[in-house]
Symmetry: C2
Subunit: 218 residues, 2 copies
DNA sequence: CCATAAGTTGAGGAGGCCCTCGACTTCGTA
DNA sequence: TACGAAGTCGAGGGCCTCCTCAACTTATGG
């Protein structure tokens, strides 16, 4: 209503088209990933390609609108995890729910994995969604249930690993990632821990490491 | 010499070009993956694009020549693993060496992950390389060290998971996968095992599951 | 009901990659 | 050395996707 950017309201038909475009893009991103051709989005929205570009001048503009909305679901996941009495169970719930969210559609999965090649907006949304992770980890470590050498970036590492599994299996074996994760979680318990001689990835190197590969692909 | 297909020997300059092309493709596949543009291969070989197609009519022909040669290294890995006295250590060595092989270059990593979208030759080479895996797993299970509910396809699942991590980190954090794998392996010990309610992927479904995603991408 | 600002349209240029093919060059033998 | 077979070359046609823009259509307020 009192939008600061004070652009006059859209004409009725334009607003309708905008909604149709967002819905179409949202569906297609979920089904086929973030690189789905723009033409297909326009077609599914029953609108011409020109209209698509009129409303969203770049693919990024579309992503910026859609991804943060979905990512907001992380808030509930984190709250729920912190509300669980048993810190280990809270940690497990958090990891499982996070991956389950990614397993729901390709869009969220890719958004996490490629956040450094996408827009600043997407990247910020991912950061915000994950900021409270530390507390969950720390709580589980303090209780002596999560292994002491587990680091913040290890959660990200696990997420990356599961991403590929999801990509390849979420359509035809939609539960398989749960098995993979269950095996993994058994290795994260304090009593299962054996010393590891490779240090965790420093959080400061995260962006550097994750964007290089992106650069190579583009 | 007495090649059954009895094509007369290549002219000297043609043989030289063929070698240059194989070397260039091998390097570029390793550096940038199996989808590197054909033009770049020709350029690196200092040969025209026409000559490339003259020697290798498709990208697949090039892959068929290069990938199986690399995959042959798996034989030594498996022999070494079976030669280790401690069955658990043999299993660990096998998994680590396999991933290490994939970590050496993008080509091998992708070849494993995409064997069902590549040629029959590549696919057969992968199958052959992995056939003896069962013995390593069985030996470790029989000794009571590897958890009893571990399945053949779980090795493949772990490989898939690590693939993505490798893709994103092998260039700038080339040791990180070892940490991820170490955490994982701790969950595979018999004494770490907690019941899992998702069954392993049936080996018969492997191809179906892995090729669907490929179909969607193409 | 009309004028006009707002919005829509789709053909087509740009760029990337694939692969072909007819003209040209080089090898290797006699 | 000379000739035919073998091999090389690279411009260009095909396909795909991105994105633009000038001509057209429609909503809306007076």
């Amino acid at each position: 209503m009192d939008d600061m950017t004070a652009t006059r309201p859209l004409r009725a038909d334009a607003a309708r088209n905008r909604d149709k475009l967002l819905a179409a893009a949202s569906d297609l991103f979920a089904e086929r990933g973030l690189d789905v051709p723009m033409e297909e989005i326009a077609r599914r929205a029953e609108v011409s390609i020109g209209t698509l570009y009129n409303h969203f001048p770049t693919r990024g503009a579309l992503q910026d609108e859609i991804i943060p909305r979905r990512l907001a679901e992380m808030d509930a996941i984190i709250d729920a995890a912190l509300a669980v009495d048993d810190p280990w169970q809270g940690f497990v719930d958090f990891v499982v729910a996070t991956i389950a969210l990614k397993a729901q559609d390709h869009c969220i999965n890719e958004a996490f994995g490629r956040r450094f090649e996408l827009s600043e907006t997407v990247r910020a949304a991912c950061d915000r969604a994950f900021a409270p992770t530390d507390r969950i980890i720390q709580r589980a470590k303090d209780s002596g249930q999560l292994r002491g050498d587990f680091a913040r970036t290890d959660v990200i590492m696990i997420g990356m690993a599961l991403t590929q599994l999801l990509n390849q299996t979420m359509d035809l074996a939609p539960q398989l990632w749960r098995r993979c994760l269950a095996l993994y979680l058994d290795g994260l318990r304090a009593e299962a821990a054996h010393p590891i001689d490779v240090p965790p990835l420093a959080i400061e190197r995260l962006e550097e490491v994750l964007s290089e590969r992106a650069a190579k692909r583009g």
